[in-house]
Symmetry: C2
Amino acid sequence: MESTLEFFTSRRSTRKYKTEAVPEEKLHQIVEAGRFAPSGGNCQSTHFIVIKNKEILTELAELVQQEFAKMEITPGLYKSIVNSINLSKSGNYVFHYNAPVLIVTANQKDYGNNIADCSCALENMMLMTNALDLGSCWINQLKWLNENPVILEYMKKLGMDDTERVYGALAVGYPDTADGLPERKPLQRTGNKVTVVDL
Amino acid sequence: MESTLEFFTSRRSTRKYKTEAVPEEKLHQIVEAGRFAPSGGNCQSTHFIVIKNKEILTELAELVQQEFAKMEITPGLYKSIVNSINLSKSGNYVFHYNAPVLIVTANQKDYGNNIADCSCALENMMLMTNALDLGSCWINQLKWLNENPVILEYMKKLGMDDTERVYGALAVGYPDTADGLPERKPLQRTGNKVTVVDL
């Protein structure tokens, strides 16, 4: 990285992955970066469920598609959920983009900072994947289905506790690009209003 | 930083600050790091309200103390909120630790990723303050009071939109330590369960 700021500004989402496995040492560093994210009162209750097994990933994608396909599109529903439902009804939906690794972040369901803590962990892991020239993408589908009984049961089978719920996930892998590196095209940044109070 | 991982593992919360102002160039880099955090569908709706004015910071701290002091402690209330209420009732509560800068992150109240997006921005800004050898601390009090009419009105006066709410904030400044650097003592990390699914 040429500058520290580039560490942040060069990160992009990757939605197409090679099948190549992520080396253990790199995956370890990614999860460690996540584990060192801050937590409310330093409670460290974020639970990282690292899924690398191809059959499990396939089964999970099928269940997610099955459950979204049952859902109806209601007025005002968030556009990305609408998209997940429509793609699932068409029967061609793989929510994790066939990435070789999915890192699910769960936390206590009755803890007020559960989303915030998981988000900080996910952000750390995204930055670390980028620093390692790996690709990643924030995955919200398991959060949207985090009270769905089928998905909940499956997550418990994978080691999630009864008191935990999913608040986000991360697809990780080698980007399927010509040079094998994450696409880092310039990003148009017209949003994110900044108000400076310095009267 | 000796390694990329250290970029994450060396971050600590700073709760005692020098009065010294944060140089404009450093503050700019911190906010830029926050602005480049990912957002749902790349909507970039996180609004950064950067407060550097001493009178405003004092007034805000007094209002927060006043509003917490009115609150009752109910069974099951989160321990840090209980702490804020108790300290406020005792009349000696400055929620932002007298840091010279407070960066408030607001977002659309009816947007499902508001907490997640603000959290990613806050995490980026925490990492950037650490890389610049500045101190920072996640501040939740304005989020806890984000529907309180007095605080809401005050935040609107500072430029927050009617449709926005506060989902987190960051105190930033030079740590008041012997060497002026953030305290980076070893962190005991016994939490953050990691489950690896690789059958």
